[in-house]
Structure formats: C-alpha cells, structure tokens
Subunit: 261 residues, 2 copies
DNA sequence: GCAACTTTGTGCGTGCGTTCACAAGCGGCT
DNA sequence: AGCCGCTTGTGAACGCACGCACAAAGTTGC
C-alpha cells in the first residue's frame, strides 16, 4: 500500500497499520500465529504461503494479503522465516505481554474453562474466578480461589485484569458485564446467549454454542431436502453439495465470526 | 423476489429457497429463533421487526430481509405473530425433529459440554459420549455412559447420530473426525484447534477459544497504542473507537461466521 | 368509508472481503 | 555474472452483504 520505504517502522506507523486491519483478517492472523508456533516447535525454519495456507485451510493469496497488513516479512523465492514472522505476529496481536483474564460464572461451562490449559499456555492466565453461588465461593479451581461477584471491581483493578470471560446464565450476564466494565475491563468474551449493552469503547465477542448447533441442523435439513428432491443417484447429490459449498477450502473456517466476532 | 403467488408452499419450492439463504443469514435466523422462543414464553403475541432487532442487536432492515428468505410471515402495520414465525423458523432450520448429538472427548471441556443443559432443551439431545481414556470409559455423565471411541461406527448408526461434537486434544481430532464421517455423520462441531479434512458432503464448524481471546488481545493492543498516540483527552479516544467500530449496533454480534463463523 | 399512521418487504447504492493473475524480487545453478 | 525458477506482494475485478429509503399493505380512529 502506501508504506514509506524506510521511514519509522515503530511508533505512529504501527497505529495506522493496526487500525486499518480488517476484522476478518485479525481472526485469521490469530490462526496463523498458533499454527506457526506449532510449525516452529517441529523445527521448521521457513514456510511458504502455500504450505501455511494448506495447514490453516485458507486461500494462499488471502494469506499473503493478510500478512501484508502487518508488514513485509517474507522472502521472495523462499517463503517466510518462521521465527521473525512469529515474533511480528505476536507483537501485532498484542501478545508480547500477557493479558490477565477474569472468569465470571464457575458453573458447568465456567468450571471447564477455568481448568482448560489452553489459555495459560497461550499468554492468557486466568487470574481471577467469580460466582454468586455460596457453594462455589471459597473453593479453589486449579489453585485459584473463587470469589464473590461483588468483589469484581476491587479485584479486577488489583490484578490488572484486561479481559473478562462471562460464563453465567443469560439473565445474570448483563449485571456481570456492567461490573466488569465499571472495573475498567474493555474486552469481554461471553458465552451467555444475550446481547450485552456496553459503552462504545468496550469490545464484546459472543460465542453461542446453541446457535452453532442450530446452524449445523440447518445444513442437515438442507441435505435431507436435497436427497428427497435430488434426481436419482447419490453421486449426483454429492456433486450438488460441492457446488453449494462454494470454494472447497472454506468449509473448515467458521464465519465469525464471526464472529463470530 | 420471484415467489409465485400461491403456488406450492411446500416441496421443491422450499429446497430452492433454503438453498439460496446466505450463510450469514442462517446464523442470524438461529439467533432470532432463540430470542423469539424467549419472547413467546413471556407471553408476547406479536413482535415488530424493530423490537426483535433491538433485542438481538441487529439492524431492523437486515432482520426483515433475513426473515423474507423463509417467506412472508409478517403483517404490515402490526408486526410478526410470534407463534407462526417461531414454527416456520423451526421448520426452516430443521428443528422440527430432534437431532441426536454425539460428543467425543470427555476431558475438561467435553465434560462441561456433556453436562450443559442448553443442548437437550433446544432439540439437540446428547445421546452418546466417547473417549479413549480408560479412566473415563465406563463412567456415567448426566446418565449417559461414556464408551470407547472405537465403538463410534456402531453406536452412531444405532442411535441415529446426525451431529458430532469433537472436544478432544488437537492431535486426536482428525482420527475422531474420520470415525464420525465413516459412521455417516455429516455435520461436525469441533473445538480442537486443527483444520479437519473431510469429504465435500460433510459440514464442519470450528470454535477456537484461544483464537477468540487473541482477537480480543489485539483490540487491547490497539487501544493501548491509541492512548499513546492519541492527541490528548480521553473522550477523544472514545470517539475514535466509535468510529473504528463502525455502526454501533454490530459490536455484540460475532462474525461467523464468521462464520463464523 | 376514508384518512392517517404503522410496519413490512425490497430495490438499489455502497463498502468490504475474497479471489485471480501478474509484476517484482530473491536464491540457486551454470 | 547472468539466467531460470520459485515465491511474495498487490492491482483489479468480482461477489456478497449491509443499510438506507421508499412503496405496498394493513390497522386504527373518526
């Protein structure tokens, strides 16, 4: 784009570049980051866009354009050096310093999330647990004390919480969200099936498991209708699906969004 | 569009209409369905597109266009009758008959999912649990016996499983996926952080919790950069965010697909 | 029965995201 | 040193999706 040849690589230039990264690209950058980490552990020195695209299930051209948003770190004729690219991705995605996470709601799902090792290992240590249930407040999960929700404002500030995860029942989610926001938390990941009202400077991402299943159920229904309406043979039906799915390589990438943003 | 006035409401017409529904719309239809269910339980008879849009956090015009994909079930000047619309949504999304779900991987996350009440209540009864861990095989969770993964082909067919959920560690996911596919399962929801290779007639949706957090971390980083580079006052920064976020009403809707989603 | 109001359904413009295709650049080979 | 093959980076076209704005259609009140 209009990147100055050798002007400031750090500083305000980064702001402008980060600000302009499309949301869909950010989601994939996170995917590349994790995949690159695995490739690096396997001893890979360089990766071509075609290889990385195959592993992540993304179109190679799209991958190159995604990476171009954070700068030119590839070598033409060779590919991308894993180590430098990994470092640049971490910096661009804000993973150079760890983000403390607070988890509210230690019921069924929350309990699992608290014990899930995938967060701490990836730079997101869960450093606070909250609930309202007297039977849960006071117990330890993975060595972390469950405290009462009313303590959120104090503890969140004390421990420098930057990300809140809400795993409460739907009706309690908005109140919990308000508490987190009042404590200065600006990023929230919620599993509660309600729309959260937040100020403009707070970012909310919602993961709705029931909706995910319903989307799948829709595809089941469509397939069944296809089979009823399909001309005759089964192979013909399969070809029909391939057409419906569009490009064959986006089947395993979730929308997301959004997302699912 | 080109809907015949009073031609066949059922039959091939449905196939053509369902086939053409955009993926992003399907994700939102599932959202409307759940929200409508709640409104119905609260005794609402009719809902206007503005009301439903406010609750679901969607643009009213977009909502009306979404609903128009499944037919004209609104009354001008009044709104939508909750009951008929609910019924039509259920039929279009394939929820008129329950979909049996198999859950593979009863570790941390899987255990929570097995005990999560949100599935059974929404027409997705979890009717089979699988794992490889000898300590887990044989126990009951929520009254369901955990069986060995090698039994997937037999049991999935016996119990008419149509949806598979994979909550295993990443390395095991592909093998489990292959087993499910061989048992005829065509819809898979996976939490494993790997790209699953499947035939063209199998639908995969992926929920990647670590990626979700990384996306949030990116926004934290962007905010921090903003504050450093921001002119002076904090209110100016807030306004900046509002602009970056685009329309204020899509903050709480996840990309999914982004498909997501 | 008519007029005013309300709400749906949708045509159209706009912007984002994806993909193709190719020029530019880098390494290896002779 | 020069050529050849490979891979990146990106310009450009395409398609999808979003949202505005308005006509069509129904309801309420007089």
């Amino acid at each position: 784009m209009t990147v100055p040849p050798e002007a400031e690589r750090e500083g305000v230039g980064d702001v402008a570049r980060l600000r302009s990264i499309p949301e869909a690209t950010v989601a994939r950058l996170a995917l590349y980051l994790r995949t690159l980490g695995e490739l690096g552990e396997q001893g890979a020195e360089t990766v071509s866009s075609d290889e990385l695209a195959a592993v992540t299930g993304v179109n190679p051209a799209k991958l190159r354009k995604d990476l171009s948003f954070i700068g030119s770190y590839g070598i033409r004729g060779v590919g991308y050096e894993v180590r430098p690219l990994l470092h640049q991705l971490e910096q661009s995605l804000g993973l150079n310093h760890r983000q403390a996470v607070a988890l509210v709601g230690v019921g069924n799902l929350g309990h699992a999330l608290a014990g899930y090792g995938g967060f701490d290992g990836r730079g997101f240590p869960v450093t606070a647990l909250f609930d309202v249930d007297p039977d849960l407040v006071g117990i330890h999960i993975n060595g972390i004390l469950v405290e009462h929700v009313r303590e959120i404002p104090r503890i969140a500030v004390e421990r420098g919480i930057t990300i809140g995860m809400i795993a409460t029942p739907g009706p309690a989610a908005q109140a919990v969200c308000d508490l987190l926001v009042s404590a200065g938390v600006q990023c929230i990941l919620t599993f509660a099936p309600v729309v959260l009202q937040v100020p403009a400077d707070v970012e909310v991402r919602k993961v709705d498991l029931a909706v995910e299943l319903q989307i799948l159920a829709f595809h089941v229904a469509r397939r069944n209708l296809d089979e009823v309406a399909g001309s005759s043979v089964s192979t013909g039906t399969v070809n029909g699906h391939a057409l419906v799915n569009g490009a064959a390589d986006n089947r395993t990438v979730n929308g997301s969004g959004g997302i699912h943003s």
